[in-house]
């Protein structure tokens, strides 16, 4: 499997495609259903495909971070997005804040939550499955 020319050539391209699609899915979720979990799965599918084609170590190098560390950043981001709920007194945790600059644009802190979920999913899935691959 490792010496398939087609897989080796296409895996880096598919990695970028998967990352692009995953970012789109995450963004679509900032104001509509969709979001972090699905995007994270798509991204990790791309990474795993790359790891199958080029080996675990190269994939790890391209991630630049320990998968578990990625998971940690994601959890912290998701946690922090909810802390803004405490800014005003007596609003509970996870009360998200919105800003409408006009032109139909709605910016909210939910996107931070979704990005956190995204990173956590990528980190968890790769941390679980990369060690199973051959070096």
């Amino acid at each position: 499997m490792n010496d398939s020319l087609i897989l080796r050539t296409s895996a880096p391209l598919l990695l970028w495609l998967a990352l692009a699609v995953s970012i789109f899915i995450v963004l679509r979720g900032h104001n509509a259903p969709g979001g972090g979990f699905l995007g994270g799965l798509i991204a990790s599918a791309g990474i795993l495909l790359y790891a199958i084609a080029h080996g675990r170590d190269r994939a790890m190098r391209r991630m630049r971070m320990a998968p578990v560390g990625l998971c940690g950043i994601g959890l912290l981001a998701a946690l922090a997005s909810g802390l803004l709920g405490f800014v005003t007194p007596d609003t509970p945790y996870l009360t998200h804040r919105w800003w409408f600059p006009g032109g139909g644009l709605a910016l909210g802190t939910t996107i931070v939550f979704d990005l956190g979920v995204y990173l956590a999913v990528v980190g968890t899935v790769t941390a679980m499955f990369l060690p199973l691959l051959r070096k």
Binding site: C71, L75, G85, D90, L94
Partner: protein, 508 residues
């Protein structure tokens, strides 16, 4: 400020889990973070308990969604007590985990998983939503999977597979019950369920759902006949892991049974009381007999977890204020004592070189302090006055006598005697008889010895405090029982007067 306090028992372990995961490549730094988080968790929980005692049930509607639609966190006295005990266990185990074998454990990822487990436990204690409870169960389960196979030994992998297989099925039953309950009532908020359950037309279906929940929580709590996974797995885990499992995992199942059956299915106590009573008796007897048949310290202790779960269910079986207070006191006492016994088992292993009673001996000569520290929780577990277990058993048995449940009282008494037999067996074999082989050479560093004994002394001190100064603890348990039996108060606190009225108007 109340809302910060309410969310803190969840936020602290979540943040600690994330930070320790970020420090994955620096295991040495994880330990202080984990310990600081455990201390902070204990502090926040204690503040939460004093707040609920002073100002009543605290409710937080996550994301500011109105009550029956969004997820709510509800902390009443019972929840707050459980959170404080969780914090205490977190501190004890965080210190203990810095002892023998700490470096290998840290490298294998002990701390992120440990904090993740604490997150699942505190979440389960704080939530007021049945589906959210399911999610916290799963958080707890995944973290416990990782912790159980931390050392990747053959023994652990085998035990872990058994644990995983049975728990997967158990939680799926929980999910099924949640789905059916949603179909019957249209809500999953526990307060809302409590409001709607008596009016459900199809009470038969509701009872079937209740039994499914009893199976799911019972599998988690390791009651008869769903306990097999526990002695098959717990004894393989490394000692800090086994201690935190023994202290908290089964108790979350007990908590869920007490919460759901005093709140949602309380109108049907006449039907469920006897079922839970029989389950409780069978659990006590099988657990204690299993312990009598074993000769490995860890296995004896594992079976005793099962046996003691039976006592905690007596409150649900009888549903009187005293019985529920007895159950709560028993849970408090048991968590402290059982965690301590597992910690001591680790120290015995370190001092005597084995967990097998046949290969141990003479520890009373070489380690008299350890012997005394073992006697405190061991005799407390058996219910010898004036230690904490005596008061727990006294409350439970007195409640059974008052409710004229003679058989339950008799079984509880007899099982106490058999518990004493098991504890004396460990004492005789490990401490009293002559050592069959010379003990291993001293291998402890000063720091490791401090990390091992400090939590043991702390928990033994707690046991003594509960035993000798019972009044405040019994008062807390009675307050918790009052809160559990005051269903209208709980419903009003969660849903609010206005929401309750509006819902009744626009009912489906």
């Amino acid at each position: 400020m109340d809302q910060v306090l309410l969310a803190s028992p969840l936020l602290v372990p979540l943040a600690a889990s994330a930070v320790t995961a970020l420090l994955w490549r620096r295991p040495g730094l994880q330990r202080p973070v984990s310990l600081a988080a455990a201390v902070l968790l204990l502090g926040c929980s204690a503040a939460l308990l004093s707040h609920t005692l002073a100002a009543g049930t605290l409710v937080g509607r996550m994301g500011a969604w109105p009550a029956p639609f969004g997820i709510v966190l509800v902390v009443d006295v019972f929840s707050a007590i459980m959170l404080v005990i969780t914090g205490l266990m977190a501190v004890a185990v965080a210190v203990y985990s810095a002892g023998q074998g700490a470096t290998e454990r840290d490298r294998a990822g002990f701390h992120p998983l440990f904090q993740g487990l604490l997150l699942g436990v505190t979440g389960a204690f704080a939530t007021g939503d049945l589906f959210n409870l399911y999610v916290w169960f799963e958080v707890m389960l995944i973290a416990s999977f990782g912790l159980l196979v931390l050392d990747r030994t053959r023994e652990q992998l085998d035990g872990g597979l058994r644990y995983v297989a049975l728990n997967l099925v158990g939680t799926t039953f929980f999910l099924l019950a949640v789905g059916l309950l949603l179909g019957l009532t249209g809500t999953l908020n526990m307060a809302d369920l409590a409001r709607l359950a008596p009016a459900v037309e199809n009470q038969g279906a509701l009872a079937a759902v209740a039994v499914l929940l009893l199976i799911a929580f019972g599998a988690k709590a390791a009651v008869f006949p769903l306990f097999n996974w526990l002695p098959a797995a717990y004894h393989t885990a490394s000692m800090p892991v086994a201690a935190i499992f023994a202290a908290l995992l089964t108790k979350v199942g007990v908590y869920a049974i007490i919460r759901v059956f005093t709140l949602v299915f309380a109108h049907d106590t006449a039907f469920f009381g006897p079922i839970v009573g029989v389950v409780a008796m069978a659990t006590m007897v099988t657990g204690v007999l299993g312990a009598a048949a074993h000769y490995d310290v860890r296995r004896i202790l594992s079976f005793h977890i099962i046996s003691q779960i039976g006592y905690m269910l007596v409150g649900v079986a009888l549903m009187t204020p005293l019985a529920i207070a007895g159950s709560v006191l028993y849970v408090i006492h048991h968590i402290v004592v059982k965690a301590n016994l597992f910690l001591i088992a680790g120290a015995i292993r370190q001092a005597g070189g084995s967990f097998a009673l046949a290969r141990l001996g003479g520890l009373w000569v070489t380690r008299p302090v350890l012997g005394l520290l073992f006697l405190i929780p061991a005799l407390s577990l058996a219910g010898i006055p004036p230690l904490s277990g005596f008061w727990g058993k006294l409350a439970v048995i007195r409640a059974s006598l008052e409710a004229e449940a003679w058989l339950l009282a008799a079984v509880a008494l007899a099982v106490g005697l058999l518990t004493l037999f098991s504890m004396i067996k460990i004492w005789n074999e490990a401490f009293w008889k002559a050592a069959p082989e010379p003990p291993p050479a001293e291998t402890w560093s000063r720091a490791a010895r401090f990390a091992t004994f400090a939590p043991i002394v702390l928990l033994a001190g707690t046991t003594l405090a509960i035993g000798l100064w019972t009044e405040p603890f019994m008062g807390l348990s009675l307050a918790a029982a009052d809160g559990l039996l005051d269903r209208q108060g709980y419903i009003a606190a969660v849903l609010g007067e206005r929401a309750t009225a509006a819902l009744q108007e626009g009912a489906r």
